[in-house]
Symmetry: C2
Subunit: 347 residues, 2 copies
């Protein structure tokens, strides 16, 4: 195997010192005569020289590596990447990062494990984190002192930048949409309502909408378990078969909504004729679902892109420690498709 060319080889080939080569490599050409610069560039081309980022990372203490963490499945094995919501975001993060010359290490984190290892082993320049983790997890992360942006998190710590949506408002919007169409017995189907999680906020929005409409909040109408198609399916069946009073459901994620609809059909009832369903996220599948899903739309691609940009902004500032942490909120809107129908003609 022919050894790869190092900076020394280039220097020798061009008849200069390694320092000179390093200069032209790092945009300090002004430190070198145009003549030698050309010779060096020639040598680089000729030898097919490509710098070693490990060596660079060692001396510059910057790896051009960004960590991206996404939640894992319950059994804590696979990434939850199958959820289009995450993959769409990762995809956009990657392209934005690559555009700026950074690479992305994609990883899950085992339950109880810390991300400390990876981030210091690899000398990460920054990290983007999706999902909710134990407090402990964030505490450790802070110690590493690398810039971090949290996606969809309500962790309140000035060290972290955040991008998310107004989940409470989203929940409110969805529920109002249903209420305005005459529904009063509205179920909530959702993943587990953890303190300070997005789901809790959506839940809060749901309750606020009910309250403002003077509808009695009925705990029996909230179906809480996991954000998955499978659970939605279960809940849908239950609702359709055991809760004739329920005429509409708000599912806190599109994937869950799909399950709910399927479950309802399985139980022999129709959407939206018998029961209306509204989702949350507007993943690209929602458009192609049958029937197309009415949902609370957020711009997922934008979310990923903004997260990447926020991070880069901090990393590339002169004083990363000093720069203000930001919080960007992606707008929300209802997109009406075909899973919600007015219960009765408006009076």
């Amino acid at each position: 195997m022919k050894k790869r060319a190092t900076i020394k080889d280039v220097a020798k080939y061009a008849g200069v010192s390694t320092a000179a080569v390093s200069y032209v490599l790092n945009g300090k050409e002004y430190r070198v005569s145009p003549d030698t610069a050309e010779k060096i560039r020639e040598a680089i081309r000729e030898l097919n020289y490509i710098p070693d980022y490990s060596a660079r990372s060692l001396v510059k203490n910057a790896s051009k590596l960004i960590g991206v963490i996404i939640p894992q499945t319950e059994d804590s094995k696979q990434l939850i990447l199958e959820n289009p919501f995450y993959s769409e975001m990762v995809s956009n993060i990657e392209s934005r990062l690559r555009e700026s010359g950074y690479h992305l290490i994609l990883s899950g984190v085992d339950k109880g494990e810390s991300y400390l290892d990876l981030s210091v082993q690899r000398n990460l320049d920054g990290a983007i984190i999706m999902g909710i983790y134990p407090e402990q997890f964030y505490a450790e992360l802070k110690q590493v002192e690398i810039p971090i942006v949290l996606i969809d998190s309500y962790i309140n710590d000035p060290w972290f930048s955040k991008v998310g949506v107004d989940d409470e408002y989203g929940g409110y919007l969805a529920t109002c949409h249903l209420i305005e169409r005459g529904h009063r017995n509205i179920a909530l189907v959702t993943g587990s309502i953890r303190k300070d999680g997005v789901v809790e906020k959506r839940f809060l929005g749901y309750k606020r909408a009910l309250r403002e409409a003077d509808i009695f909040y009925n705990p029996d109408h909230v179906f809480e378990h996991s954000v998955s198609y499978a659970y939605g399916y279960e809940a849908g069946k239950t609702i359709a078969s055991k809760h004739p009073e329920i005429t509409a459901v708000f599912a806190t994620a599109d994937m869950v909504a799909f399950g709910v609809i399927q479950g309802i059909k399985e139980a022999g009832r129709e959407v939206p004729d018998d029961i209306s369903v509204i989702g949350f996220d507007d993943i690209f599948l929602s458009r192609m679902f049958v029937p197309p899903l009415t949902t609370v739309r957020q711009d997922i691609a934008l979310k990923g892109k903004r997260a990447a940009e926020l991070l880069l902004e901090i990393i590339e500032s002169d004083e990363p420690e000093k720069i203000d942490r930001k919080e960007v909120t992606i707008p929300l809107s209802i997109v009406e498709r075909q899973t919600v129908r007015p219960l009765k003609p408006r009076s």
Copy 2:
């Protein structure tokens, strides 16, 4: 910011040399007295020492980093990760890799770009590549001389290991399934048929099945463009409205099948009552689609896992150059759900 502990700090703290520390770090404890070993371990714990992989990569010439490449969208911006087929695979690759202490750099590669840069910059220990690229791309990759496994590729080069399915057979299976149920006018809806691509093989299988059943192959019945929901939708509409003779379609990917079905419905006809549809892949959505999709199943998770294992096997062998490249083929089977119906009672 408190500096991170280095091996020197550990050595000093434990009152030994850096060599000793390195020994226990690298499983060569037999070179050290149990006593000092304990002291060292203590120091590591105390100082929260975590080795720097960059430095390690430099001296060991091994980065514990694996590159994973997935195709990009046509506009060559985002990754095609939204396609659940890919995300499911990536997810499984990641978990298998992490299990063995490797990390994954996820990346797309711009049209015309090479992957050379990334792989040598990062000193990748190996790479897993999905999708089809220009010949040139593979040629360059070979030069880097790192172990590589190709997923779903028909590139024929002993340097590359491969994991895939028997696509020709899959296409054959799908088409036979339709023929056996009395269909004779069977459309093929597919991404572009490139030489040596999986799609071409499936196309070949389709033709073989027709031939064996003495059905005339009608080029007007193949709809070839891109593997996307959107194109499937177009094709579905066209088929339903302009080709009354067609009673069944074989879509070469589930995502396309979804589009086809939607298009057919849009044109006012029903699946499977008017037209039967069979897909390919069995992504997890196929189960939850309405109606549940009949399709050619491949175990996507297994595919990712096997790819990772194949790669690790080569990397961790003593003589990576010598080890035999392998080709693993994931089995295929038809899973009958509700989008295909017999055209007429069997005679």
